[in-house]
């Protein structure tokens, strides 16, 4: 981490592998190609983007439709994995 100065400070790269390492155990949103969102805690994932999540909430058109204690999502359906944005008054 320290003292690696080969990249310009503004443009530090973060590869998909780096991203995946950084989000384990974090709150994430997984969006599927169908438009359905899953919010929960990322347990782990693999090279196919198969995902295991805990405390998963399923949102269809922004509306909570279902809750799962654990959930496995098949990677081919995944559009993106997002960190949870803490923008709108989320942190009290």
């Amino acid at each position: 981490m320290s003292g690696s100065v080969e990249k310009v400070s503004s443009g530090t790269t973060k590869t998909p592998a780096d991203f995946l390492k950084s989000i384990r155990g974090k709150d994430v949103v997984v969006k599927l190609n169908s438009g359905v969102d899953y919010r929960g805690i990322l347990t782990c994932l693999d090279g196919y983007m198969n995902i295991a999540m805990e405390q998963t909430e399923e949102y269809v058109n922004g509306q909570l439709k279902n809750k799962y204690g654990d959930a496995f999502i098949r990677g081919n359906n995944v559009l993106y994995i997002s960190t949870v944005n803490r923008t709108l008054g989320d942190g009290a």
């Binding site: 295991a52 654990d70 496995f72």
Partner: protein
Amino acid sequence: MSGEEEATVREPLDLIRLSLDERIHVKLRSDRELRGKLHAFDQHLNMILGDVEEVITTVEIDDETYEEIVRMTKRTIQFLFVRGDGVILVAPPLRST
């Protein structure tokens, strides 16, 4: 209560492995859902399920009122094979803590 090493999920498929012989919920493409006992699976998420309840959800628009009519068609199937490429999500039963 269960042994800790048994319950560790190192890769996503471990979650499925832990659900063998348990009743699971499977979400499939084209608004199909299955609930049944997981007998076997492979890395493609092909699965063998027993005592399955299948629910198909269809939404129709009423010609006159333009209201959405949601229909749930249920049926039970004793034993079936699910092809993995149709699988969206697999949810094991709630793990007791």
